[in-house]
């Protein structure tokens, strides 16, 4: 049965569609992840100066998106899943960022 909602049969039955990557791609992605992690850890040993923190944040973002996109199949599944995941993520970042800003910069002084 399909309803009036958009229903792309290729997206249905998530996880059973052929254009998913195979083991080889997965391993390739894992290797990239490993390299990124190595880069992250290197900030501990090598001094990147002011670049270090932005670099770490970017690396974290890439790793996150790669695991979510490939291992969790977000890239191949319905967009709704991604919206739920990133909706939660950005919702959380927004709310807690405001909270932290209020608490750190507009709170009462300690005695």
């Amino acid at each position: 049965m399909s309803t009036t909602e958009t229903h792309d049969p290729a997206q249905a039955a998530g996880g059973h569609v052929d254009h998913h990557p195979g083991p080889r791609e997965y391993v390739r992605i894992a290797i990239i992840l490993a390299i990124l992690t190595a880069l992250e850890v290197s900030t501990y040993f090598v001094d990147f100066g002011a670049l270090a923190i932005p670099l770490l944040v970017v690396l974290m973002g890439i790793k996150f998106v790669m695991v979510a996109g490939f291992f969790m199949h977000l890239r191949f599944d319905t967009k709704l899943y991604g919206r739920l995941l990133y909706g939660g993520l950005f919702g959380a970042i927004g709310l807690y960022a405001i909270t932290l800003i209020v608490m750190s910069f507009d709170g009462a002084p300690r005695v």
């Binding site: 709170g107 009462a108 002084p109 300690r110 005695v111």
Partner: protein, 377 residues
């Protein structure tokens, strides 16, 4: 003032222009309603009866907001009542369906934009008001440090090195900036809980937080006694954590300060002297652990003033009320009761480290102590 809920005969619909005459009648009714409303605003602790600029500002802001709310209220209720009366199904209804209207985009825009504009209008003075009530007062002001304890208030005047409790004495027409925090016996912020300092006729409230410092500006325009209360739930005796503010003309205030700055005179004879002995003011007490001086400071000129676990009693008898505004100092019998069994007079948790314990004093001891306390002018 419940008159304000009386609906108007016919509501003015958006889009239809009401005759001017009705407008003015609406105005008259509003003014009348407001008058009634304000007339009922005086009560000893009323927020609608400001007595200083820091209460007046918010008040002057809220009154027009109340009027706007009243108008919206009348409009909405009017529309409802009109619809209910006009569109009720009549007994002679033919069973046909009314026109099946699904909506009207213009109306939607109208009642989105108009409230937004009204709110924008309220928002501007609100933001201004926030800053003007919170900023440091312009020019000279008096600083008082406030510590909220479970369940009483301590005031310290750094300019004069004075401690007092529950009764905040301030000069008239001078801004006072309160620097507030909370602590508990042992003056340990870790044992403190959140309170809120609130004297409605002088200013809105501000929470008092253990481990942090918050500020509140107050100012009294006339010499008077103002009632206040802790306004943040702080446990067992939250309701018994009252505040008093006494505003004095500058001369009286200076006299008060002089008196408070002078050390307590230890009586040398009679019952009061026995009381002083019992109290342990010279730290040669014979009631040991029950020594009042273990918790209460009576500064007799030796060394520095050090606040205790309980209220400073150096000039106890100069206050009108004790135990955070619950009892009269004048009323000796109440003071006796208090010394007999404090937790029976005011719910406290001495076993939890908050409040004054029952010291099992004998009647003779009580007589002596009362005589002494009342001598502490």
């Amino acid at each position: 003032m419940r008159d304000r809920t009386k609906p108007l005969p016919a509501p003015t619909l958006p889009g239809t222009r009401a005759p001017i005459r009705r407008r003015t009648r609406v105005g008259t009714i509003l003014v009348l309603a407001l008058g009634l409303f304000l007339a009922s605003c005086s009560a000893p602790q009323s927020a609608m009866d400001p007595a200083g600029p820091y209460a007046q500002g918010p008040h002057d802001l809220i009154v027009p907001v109340f009027v706007i709310a009243l108008v919206v209220f009348i409009l909405v209720q009017g529309l409802i009542i009109f619809a209910v009366v006009k569109f009720r199904r009549r007994p002679d209804d033919d069973g046909s369906l009314p026109a099946q209207v699904h909506g009207n985009t213009r109306l939607e825009i109208f009642w989105t934009v108009i409230p937004a504009l009204i709110l924008a209008g309220i928002a501007v003075p609100t933001v201004q008001g926030i800053f003007s009530t919170m900023n440091e007062p312009d020019g000279e002001y008096l600083t008082v440090e406030v510590v909220g304890h479970r369940w009483w208030w301590e005031f310290y005047y750094p300019d004069f090195d004075i401690y007092t409790a529950n009764e905040l004495v301030i000069p008239v027409d001078t801004p006072v900036r309160l620097e507030m925090t909370a602590a508990d016996p042992g003056r340990d912020p870790a044992r403190g809980v959140i309170h809120s300092f609130w004297i409605p006729r002088l200013a809105g409230k501000q929470d008092v937080v253990p481990g942090q410092q918050t500020y509140l500006n107050i100012q009294a325009s006339e010499a008077d006694r103002y009632l206040g209360m802790c306004a943040e739930y702080c446990g067992l005796s939250h309701v018994n954590m009252r505040i008093r503010a006494e505003s004095l003309e500058q001369g009286d205030f200076d006299a008060w300060v002089d008196n408070q700055m002078s050390p307590a005179v230890t009586p040398t004879d009679g019952l009061a002297a026995q009381g002083a002995e019992l109290f342990g003011v010279e730290h040669n007490t014979d009631i040991g652990a029950r020594s009042c001086a273990a918790c209460h400071q009576v500064w007799n000129g030796d060394g520095a003033r050090v606040p205790g676990v309980g209220p400073d009693l150096t000039h106890f008898a100069s206050r009108e009320e004790f135990a955070a505004g619950l009892f009269d100092v004048d009323d000796e019998e109440q003071l006796r009761e208090w010394l007999r069994d404090p937790p029976a007079m005011k719910p406290m948790q001495p076993e939890n480290g908050v409040g004054m314990p029952n010291l099992n004093l004998t009647e003779e001891e009580i007589d002596a102590l009362v005589a002494y306390l009342l001598a502490l002018e």
